[in-house]
């Protein structure tokens, strides 16, 4: 089947975007035919979200062309994109929280009768249009977002992880509605981490990897494997395998952390594991499976709703990050903007924990501080040429500062949440080497990483979380990327996905929508 360019509803070619030194998109292309539901796939950090922002006018690309119905146009704002026929439902609700639904519709020039018609289609006929967006549950907001986008009748409807916050019955309904659009004059670009949804509604899938389009796949039975392969690429080959881990180093004795059935209000359901001194334990999960909440609980910035946390064998509960730090649990978040004082110097950033406690309020012993800071700087080989303001450091150096802060004071247990997100390969290697050294020196490290190939490099073993539960524990020796990714999607080789697990995974807790299981 040949399709000429003019037959395409939307065609993007060679789209690129860099943020400072970080290349978010190298050369992304996408060709959407009229009447199809087209999946846009890619592992974390492949450039999907940047691509979406460019298509919807929220971000201006550095290069490339975008044509809708053969007309070249690059939108400069979401309003412009909307007039050009591209409307998006974003990952998070984009209704104005303090306005009622009717006003929100007016702002986006949405026809109300078509909107209510779509609401009926989506099982929300009884929604009161004068209710304030802020007062509605998340799932309802997602449905409103979708109905609004549908009512505008765009040429291209872009759904970015729209089903992530929906309970199972609504997800089904949404998928039916999307399937209903198929075959007409309009198209849908569909983004989801759930392969079963892709299989259910999509005609074709475009796969992004490292900011580039690496393939387009016709979605048929069994094409999931092909998609996963494309997402992985040559993965395992770009990094040398880690030097041998002393396999027996996984010490016995009291675990530093024992989690027993930890649960949060939202996504975390039931997570148990033990973290021993001298090991690096990996955590593998797709986005939004509860890993954020797990790390928040361990770091003391969120209280669990259920379960028990033991530190060094003693039941513990943290009310403040300071409690976790006192118990020896230090936290390195993925978002460096969360951990760093961007306008302050490297020295101040590394020394921050020393000032934090009441007894650190007094005069600073500059000599001692310099020694500690220098130790952190040399351990992590931080480039201090731009040390005056941390925000002028490269991403990799910034991340080293957040780690150095804790290393400078001696680490018992380190919680690393995706510490290598968006940083260069050399720094990644350094960070993993450091984590190994820490483990070798008797520290315990819990490491969540979105880059699966790094599990084998840095970890001794890994637990896999899906739908808020630990679904697998895999030894590093066999934790190659395909194995991990399949486990992360809860795909078991040979076995069809059990219906119950899938349904449960789709159900969002604490989000009672009419008819959903409580």
């Amino acid at each position: 089947m040949t399709v000429t360019a003019t037959d395409l509803l939307l065609e993007a070619t060679g789209v690129s975007k860099t943020y400072g030194a970080v290349v978010a998109l190298r050369s992304a292309s996408l060709a959407v035919r009229p009447g199809e539901v087209h999946a846009l796939m890619g592992a974390n950090g492949a450039g999907k979200s940047t691509f979406v922002k460019i298509l919807t006018g929220a971000v201006h690309p550095d290069g490339g062309t975008i044509a809708v119905r053969g007309r070249q146009r690059i939108a400069h704002s979401p309003a412009e994109a909307r007039r050009g026929g591209v409307v998006s439902v974003y990952q998070e609700p984009s209704l104005i929280p303090d306005l009622d639904i009717r006003s929100n519709l007016r702002l986006t020039e949405t026809p109300v009768d078509r909107f209510t018609a779509w609401l009926r289609e989506l099982d929300h006929a009884d929604l009161d249009l004068s209710s304030q967006a802020r007062r509605l549950p998340l799932a309802t907001l997602r449905i409103i977002d979708l109905a609004r986008a549908l009512a505008i009748e765009p040429d291209v409807l872009l759904l970015d992880e729209m089903t992530a916050a929906l309970p199972a019955n609504l997800t089904e309904r949404v998928l039916e509605v999307i399937a209903g659009i198929r075959g007409g004059d309009r198209s849908v670009i569909f983004i989801s981490h759930r392969l079963i949804e892709i299989a259910a509604v999509c005609d074709r899938a475009t796969v992004l990897r490292e900011g580039e389009t690496v393939g387009v796949v016709d979605v048929t039975a069994g094409s999931e494997e092909r998609i996963v392969e494309l997402m992985l690429g040559q993965a395992a080959h770009d990094l040398p395998a880690r030097a041998d881990v002393s396999a027996g180093s996984r010490a016995a004795g009291t675990p530093r952390i024992s989690a027993r059935g930890l649960a949060s209000e939202s996504r975390l359901r039931d997570v148990s594991f033990d973290l021993y001194p001298g090991e690096v334990l990996g955590v593998v999960a797709l986005e939004g499976q509860g890993q954020d909440e797990l790390f928040d609980i361990l770091a003391g910035s969120r209280r669990p709703r259920g379960g028990e946390l033991l530190v060094d064998g003693t039941p513990t509960s943290f009310h403040h990050p300071a409690d976790a730090i006192r118990a020896g649990l230090v936290y390195v978040p993925a978002d460096r903007a969360e951990a760093l004082l961007m306008q302050r110097s490297v020295r101040e950033n590394i020394a921050l924990p020393f000032s934090a406690r009441l007894r650190g309020w007094g005069p600073i012993n500059l000599g001692e501080e310099r020694r500690r800071v220098d130790r952190g700087i040399t351990t992590l080989q931080i480039d201090t040429r731009a040390a005056g303001e941390v925000r002028r450091l490269s991403g990799g150096n910034q991340q080293k500062v957040t780690i150095a802060r804790w290393v400078a004071g001696g680490v018992r247990t380190m919680l690393c949440f995706d510490p290598t997100r968006g940083i260069d390969i050399g720094t990644k290697q350094q960070i993993y080497l450091l984590l190994r050294e820490l483990a070798a020196a008797g520290s315990a490290v819990l490491l969540y990483t979105s880059e699966l190939k790094e599990i084998q490099q840095a970890c001794d073993r890994a637990i896999v979380i899906f739908g808020g539960r630990v679904v697998a524990e895999i030894d590093a020796a066999v934790a190659d990327e395909p194995t991990l990714l399949r486990a992360a999607y809860d795909l078991r080789p040979g076995a069809p996905m059990p219906e119950t697990v899938a349904a449960e995974a789709l159900t969002e807790a604490g989000d009672p929508s009419p008819g959903s299981p409580a």
Binding site: P321, A322, F354, S355, G360
Partner: protein, 328 residues
């Protein structure tokens, strides 16, 4: 990627930019020097040791109150209650000194200020009331109570103690203002405290990124309560000096200082969004405002021109900071 060759004067502009960003005190001092030179040109012979003494004497209370703003603005706060607190303490001492003597009167005034600071700090730190609102409300409370006190005291009368007059408006050898005796140690304490104590570091940390400060184990409310107490005590000291400088005790004495104190901190390079700035710049900022006032009045310009110029300077300087730091 098209505008690589933008800006032919790139090097010097970039250098200037970096200078402004990293050492804002240098261009500020240059501005101050320029204003002094301008004063001399406009009114030959005006710049003299005596003139400098008058400028300093006038600038000291403003600089202290601007210190309150600097410290609170570093945490992304603001203290609009300094005017009311300063007036209140000056007034308290003036009315009490006759009955209880100077030392106890000062102690009572400082205690009253500290109490106001504790309440403000609890509101901002624990109840998370916006500092603008909290300090605004606190200034109403303090002003009202001071007024009540005034009515109680109307029969006894008030007199600014001679010691305050000497301290606030007296000079040594006709040049060096006595108020420097108070100001210099205070300024050193603030400057060193901000750079060389854990508490100072935490002020920057809270203003730059409260989430990061929390993740590093800092409990923000403790810092904020202490901060607002310090701010109120500084305001109290400024109140003593102002009452001595003007030889008046009134419950609205220092009100006119509030907005200029914010202005001095902003001009001095302290970001109202928190996390950046210092007291050195603020002192220069207070001096700049004082010199501008003096220059304009010596030229016979009306108050109106001074105000307009004040406003223009604040907008221009703040816009310049925003440009070079790329914040906002």
């Amino acid at each position: 990627m098209t505008a690589v060759s933008r800006g032919r004067s790139g090097v010097s502009a970039a250098d200037l930019r970096r200078l402004f960003r990293d050492r804002p005190i240098i261009p500020l001092v240059a501005l101050l020097a320029g204003l002094v030179v301008l004063s001399e040109i406009a009114r030959p012979g005006i710049v003299s040791p005596e003139w400098a003494g008058v400028i300093l004497r006038t600038a000291v209370p403003l600089a202290i109150l601007a210190g309150c703003q600097t410290l609170t603005m570093l945490t992304a706060g603001i203290d609009l209650s300094v005017g009311a607190v300063a007036s209140m303490t000056g007034f308290l001492v003036a009315t009490l000194v006759g009955n209880v003597g100077l030392g106890p009167a000062i102690a009572i005034a400082l205690a009253a200020a500290a109490l106001a600071g504790v309440v403000t700090g609890v509101g901002v730190g624990i109840f998370r009331v916006h500092p603008l609102i909290m300090t605004l409300g606190m200034s109403l409370v303090v002003l009202g109570l001071a007024n009540v006190w005034q009515l109680q005291m109307v029969q006894t009368g008030a007199g600014v103690p001679a010691e305050f007059r000497t301290l606030g408006s007296g000079t040594q050898v006709g040049v060096v203002p006595n108020s420097l005796l108070v100001f210099v140690p205070l300024a050193i304490l603030i400057l060193v405290g901000l750079r060389r104590t854990g508490f100072g570091r935490l002020l920057y940390a809270l203003g730059d990124n409260p989430v990061a400060a929390r993740l590093a184990g800092a409990r923000g409310w403790q810092v904020l309560i202490v901060l607002y107490v310090i701010s109120a005590l500084l305001a109290a000291v400024a109140g003593f000096l102002i009452s001595g400088l003007t030889n008046t005790a009134s419950v609205t004495l220092a009100d006119s200082y509030v907005l200029p104190s914010v202005a001095a901190a902003v001009i001095g390079g302290t970001s109202i969004l928190g996390g950046r700035g210092g007291y050195g710049g603020t002192i220069v900022g207070a001096l700049i405002l004082t010199v501008v006032t003096s220059l304009l009045s010596s030229l016979g310009y009306p108050e109106a021109v001074r105000q307009i110029l004040f406003g223009a300077i604040i907008v221009l300087v703040a816009a310049a900071y925003t440009r070079v730091t790329g914040e906002g």
